[in-house]
Point group: C2
Chain length 379, copies 2
C-alpha cells in the first residue's frame, strides 16, 4: 500500500474492477456467439440440447483450473451454471422434428400461458400448429378436421368439460392434455375418443424457460406406440420423461398440492387475523424465516380461482385434511403439557421417515439462501 | 455452417467454449487480486465493507454495457452479484477497531457455531478475546476479571441460567447476549449486572458469511452511550442495525419462529403418518412444490432440542396455536361445503392484508427457483 490518500487509492482500484467487469461482459458476448452455433448444430441433427455428461465435464475442468489458480471452485461452478442456464434459454433456434408425417397439431388454449409454450416448441420443430380458443368453438368441426394431435391446455376446472365438447376426431388422431391432475381428464379423454390417448403433466410453470431439464409425467391411455414420436419430441426439447399411472400421480399430488396449499391458506388467514406488523416480521427475520414467510405470502399474489380449483377438486381429500387437524391437536397437547421429551421423540421418528432427504433439503435450502442473499431478495 | 461432420463441428465449438471459460477463471483470479487490495484499504481506514451505492453503480454500468453489446443484462447482474458475494466473504483482512481502549472481551460459548463468528470478527478488529466454555467455569472469577465486554453466545435454553451464574462484573463492563428471544435474557442481564446492558439478535445462522448485509436487532438495556462503540463495530463489520424493544421483537418472533416451526412439525408428522412415496412426491413436483417440501424436510435434519426450546419457550403461545387450529377447522368447513366463493372471498381479504408484500414474495421466489434449477437443487 502506498502513501496516497486512501480515497484516491480506492478510486483507482475501483477503476480496475470496472475494467475487469467490462472484460467479463465482453467474454459473455463472445461465449454466446459460440453457444448459438452449438444450438444450430444440435437442432439440425436432433441432438439433445441438454447433455448432462458434457455439462459435468465442463464444470469439472474449470473447477480444477480454479483450484490450481487459487480461485474459489464453488464460485466458478455457480457462475458457469448460471451462464449455461442463459445459453439454454437463448438457444432458441430450431428443433429436430421427430415425426415429419404429422401435418396438423391443434392446441386448445394455445394462447394461454402454458399453451403458448407448447405452440412455440412445436413451431420451432417445424410442425403446423393451430390454436383453438373459446371464441373459435362455433367453428369446431373445421378446427379439428384432419388433426393428427389435439392437445388440451385449458384451466383445470374446465378440462373435462372441454374434452367432452370436442367433436369426433379422426381415428388415428392423438388426444392429450396437460392438466395437473390426471385421473379425471384421462377418463374423459378415453370416453370421448377411441384413438390414441395420453395424459401429460409437464412439471413447470409458465415462467420456466422452455422444457430443458424439466420433468414431464406421462400417463398412458391407449395405443401408446402411436404417440411415441410425441414423447421423443419432448425429449428433444430437453424434457425428462417420467411414466406413472394416473392414480399414483394424483395421490402424490394430493399431498403436495392440496395439503400444502390448504395449509398455506390457513397460515395466511391466521396471520391476517392476528395482524402482526409485517414490516417488523421481515425486519426481524433471518433469511430462512424470510423465505418461510415468502412461501406463504406468494400464494396470495396469485389467482384464487386456480387454488380453489386445485383444493376443491376432490372431496376425498377432506379426510386427509381432517387427519392433519387431528395431528395438530395432538401436537398442541404436547406443548400444553410441556412435554419436550415427547416432542423430541416424534421429531426423530419423522426425521427417520424423511431419511437422507431431509439432509439434502437442509443443504439445498442453505445454498439457495446464500443465492437469495446476493440479490437482497426476500427483504 | 460448413459441410463437416456435425460431431466434429460440435467438438471444435466445445473447445472454443472451454477456452472462453478458462479465460473466465483467469478473470476471476485477476479480479480477486484487486478486491483484496480494496479490502486492505477499507480495513486500514474503517470504511465499511458494504457500500450499497457503489454496488448499485457497478451493476448499473455493466448492465448498460451488456444491453449495448447484446448480452442479457439479467445474466450480467446475477454474475456480478455472485462474484461480489465471494469477494465480501474473502475480504478476510482486518477491520478498523472502533474502540482501542477496550482491553478484554469475554465470549461465553465462543467455541459454539455463532460464538466463533464473533470471536473471529473481534480478533480481526484487533481486540483481545477470551472464550469461556462450560469446562472453564470453575475458574470463572479469573475469566471475568477486568472484562470490558461479556457476550453471552449459548443455546437459548441455558441463556438465562448462565447469565445468573456470571460472577459480579466490573461496573463499566458491558453485558450483552445474542439469543433469538430477547425479553427474558434482557431481564436476567438487567437483574444480574448494574452496568451497561444490551440485548442483540444477529439475524443470521452459522452458515452465513460474516455479518455483511445482515440485520442485527438491538434491544437497549441500560447506559447505551457506553456500548455505542460495539454498535459501530458491528456496522464496520457490515451489519444493518435495527433497534427494537424486547417485547416487540419477541411478539414478532412468535409468529415467525413458534408458529411456523410448529406448523412445519405437524406437517412433517402428518406426512410421516400418511407415508406417501417420497420419491414420487419429488419426481412429480415442479420446482415450487419441491421447495415447499424441502422447507418441511429441512427441519428434521436439525437439532430437535433447539426447536423444542424455541417452541416450548413461552406457554403464552399455546393460545396463538389454538386460534390457528380454529382457523384450520373453519377452512375445512368451507371445503366440505364446496364453498369456493367463500374461499375466494377470504383469499382476497388475506391478499389485501399482505398488500404489495405478496407480489414481492412471488417475484422473489420465482427468481430463486430459477437459481435452484441451475444447480438441479431440490431434486
Amino acid at each position: 500500500m502506498n502513501q496516497q490518500d486512501p480515497k484516491q487509492t480506492l478510486q483507482a482500484l475501483r477503476k480496475q474492477i470496472d475494467q475487469l467487469d467490462s472484460e467479463l461482459v465482453d467474454l459473455l458476448r463472445r461465449r454466446s456467439l459460440v453457444t448459438s452455433q452449438v444450438g444450430q448444430v444440435k437442432s439440425q441433427t436432433g441432438m439433445p440440447i441438454y447433455v448432462p455428461e458434457r455439462e459435468a465435464e465442463l464444470i469439472q475442468l474449470r473447477k480444477q483450473q480454479a483450484t490450481e489458480q487459487g480461485v474459489s471452485p464453488g464460485l466458478t461452478e455457480d457462475l458457469l451454471r448460471r451462464i449455461m442456464r442463459e445459453s439454454y434459454a437463448t438457444q432458441d433456434g430450431e428443433f429436430l422434428q421427430t415425426n415429419p408425417s404429422i401435418e396438423k397439431i391443434v392446441i386448445i388454449g394455445g394462447n394461454g400461458a402454458l399453451g403458448r409454450i407448447f405452440v412455440e416448441l412445436f413451431e420451432r420443430s417445424h410442425y403446423a400448429v393451430t390454436s383453438v380458443e373459446k371464441e373459435d368453438w362455433h367453428n369446431a368441426d373445421d378446427c379439428f378436421a384432419d388433426a393428427d394431435l389435439v392437445l388440451v391446455c385449458v384451466p383445470i376446472t374446465v378440462t373435462c368439460q372441454i374434452i367432452e365438447q370436442i367433436p369426433q376426431l379422426p381415428a388415428n388422431c392423438i388426444l392429450a392434455d396437460i392438466t395437473s391432475i390426471k385421473s379425471q381428464p384421462l377418463e374423459a379423454m378415453m370416453a370421448n375418443h377411441c384413438g390414441p390417448v395420453v395424459g401429460l403433466h409437464p412439471m413447470f410453470g409458465p415462467d420456466s424457460m422452455g422444457m430443458v431439464k424439466q420433468v414431464v409425467v406421462v400417463c398412458n391411455g391407449r395405443l401408446s406406440e402411436q404417440y411415441q414420436w410425441l414423447i421423443e419430441q419432448m425429449r428433444v426439447w430437453g424434457a425428462k420423461i417420467q411414466e406413472s399411472s394416473a392414480q399414483e400421480h394424483d395421490n402424490s399430488m394430493a399431498f403436495i398440492q392440496v395439503m400444502r396449499h390448504f395449509n398455506t391458506f390457513v397460515y395466511g388467514a391466521h396471520l391476517a387475523h392476528e395482524s402482526p406488523n409485517l414490516q417488523l416480521l421481515t425486519d426481524f427475520s433471518s433469511p430462512i424465516y424470510r423465505l418461510e414467510l415468502a412461501m406463504v405470502g406468494r400464494l396470495f399474489a396469485q389467482d384464487p380461482e386456480l387454488y380453489a380449483d386445485i383444493i376443491f377438486n376432490d372431496l376425498k381429500n377432506v379426510e386427509l385434511l381432517k387427519r392433519f387437524q387431528q395431528r395438530f391437536s395432538e401436537a398442541i397437547v404436547l406443548f400444553e403439557n410441556g412435554d419436550k421429551a415427547g416432542f423430541i421423540k416424534q421429531f426423530f421418528q419423522i426425521g427417520n421417515w424423511f431419511g437422507d432427504y431431509s439432509k439434502k433439503c437442509l443443504l439445498d435450502s442453505k445454498k439457495l439462501l446464500l443465492k437469495a442473499d446476493d440479490d437482497k431478495m426476500l427483504r
